[in-house]
């Protein structure tokens, strides 16, 4: 695979991670192209969320290399790592909104800490971001007053606040009804079209991933066992891959 630095904002090489005796990543390697959306599928507890937390530096790998925006992050100090984190947006599984802050304050939080824009400009930017995810009418609400889908939308607006080059989604449609899940999927497609960011989406929603991803990778026993487009993987002769797609289409 030929690669120059700018072509691949995310490069993972021979990544290994274990918790006690449980090995969750076992020599995983993955590259994500600029503007590409990769869906990471696999069984629960298979290390998919750990993979995202390694990329953003919330956890450290036991071995292997993680390059984000052309920089190896495994040996960075906290301050340097924070500079990389500003280039990454992260949507957590339960949205992880700060429950003591209102919707608009949640979205304003990264802006107020990392930019020097005036309060007026910041408020305008917050409204724009919330409008982008369809939440501009609920700016004063508290997270506890929002449904799961609405929380995910606000979480997405917060993740987009610093105009990141990379977006990481941890199960963006988990726990949502099919209509809301489809709306979140449409939002990802819309963002992809508008912002041309690189994204990794960890999900169990195969049909959703089929719609918004450029490539799917399937994790099993800590490594990628298959990758490609939905149609390619569906016809795989590998027993685990075939079984995974058979059950997911039920």
């Amino acid at each position: 695979m030929s690669a120059n630095g700018s072509e691949y904002p995310i490069k993972l090489g021979n990544l290994q991670k274990a918790f006690g005796h449980q090995r969750v990543l076992n020599g995983l390697s993955l590259r994500v192209r600029r503007g590409e959306t990769v869906a990471v599928l696999g069984r629960s507890g298979g290390g998919k969320s750990v993979l995202l937390k390694l990329i953003i530096g919330l956890q450290t790998p036991d071995a292997g290399s993680i390059q984000v925006a052309d920089q190896e992050i495994t040996d960075l100090r906290e301050g340097q790592l924070n500079e990389i984190r500003k280039k990454i947006g992260f949507l957590f599984q339960q949205a992880a909104l700060y429950d003591s802050l209102s919707v608009e304050d949640n979205v304003a939080f990264p802006l107020s800490r990392h930019t020097k824009i005036s309060t007026g400009e910041r408020n305008k930017r917050v409204r724009e971001l919330l409008a982008e995810v369809g939440m501009d009418r609920d700016v004063r609400k508290m997270p506890s007053e929002l449904s799961g889908g609405m929380q995910k939308r606000v979480g997405l607006a917060r993740a987009l606040a610093l105009d990141p080059e990379i977006l990481l989604f941890d199960e963006p449609t988990a726990g949502l009804d099919p209509i809301t899940a489809a709306e979140i999927g449409d939002l990802i497609i819309e963002l992809k079209r508008k912002r041309k960011m690189s994204a990794i989406v960890v999900t169990h929603d195969v049909q959703g991933a089929r719609a918004y991803s450029d490539r799917m990778v399937l994790l099993h026993e800590g490594n990628i066992v298959a990758e490609g487009r939905f149609e390619e993987l569906q016809d795989s002769r590998d027993e685990f891959v075939a079984q995974f797609f058979r059950y997911s289409s039920r």
Binding site: L58, F92, Q93, A96, D99, P110
Partner: protein
Amino acid sequence: MIHLPIIVFAATSSAAIIGGHLRDKVPIIRNVFVGFFEWFGELGLFCGRLLRAAITPPYEFGELLRQCDAIGSKSLPLVALAGAATGVVLSLQTRDSLIRFGAKAFLPAVIVFSIVKESGPIITGLIVSGRVGAGIGAELGSMKVTEQIDAMEASAVDPYRFLVATRVLACTLMLPVLTVASNFFGILTGWLANTLAEPISLRLFLEDGFKNMAFSDYIPPIVKPTVFGLTIGIVSCFQGIRTRGGTEGVGRSATSSVVLSSLFVILADVILVRLILTVWG
């Protein structure tokens, strides 16, 4: 973790009493010891990270002010009430004892000395341990299990700077202020209870109470609450931020924050009394 020394002692002695099966108990005792030292080791690392976050810029003044309000002004009614109750009880109890020994004239001095040097700081410390310790433990614990702390770190904001340092500093700054308030209400109600039994003007009561106070007598009400505040802040933030295991874990953190904060406040009081007596006489 709270009762580790007791558990260690109980485990060791019960193993010895049961006898004959000591070899079977070795892994349990070893685990308890490991847990005990692990807790202190983690606390040391936590304090190191907290210190770095507290002394290096950027400083979170807005959040510090918010925490000072949450910890200080919102604890004031409870602290004032506790201080006032202490003043009344101290006045009623001491009056009776002093009359028996023919030393009734010392009542204002005894009340002022007791409140300013000991009961004011310790009661304020224990009240704040309960109210603020539980609040911080539960809040940070809940943020931890719902990934809000991870989200903050992912947003390139150091949670130690934004959440921990501000709370610890607010506790350290507010405890002396709350102690002054507690002392004020304690002395006031002490005078009230006294004057109901035997009228005495407030001015005379205060003059009698404070005339023998030396500079060294003002050290405990400054040093003790500051150390208590620091202790409460560190212990409850530490218990909160290391929460594991969902809502049950949050409950455990809130409880252990209160119990451990109170325990360490009492321990600090014992050490400080000895230290202050040694240094300032």
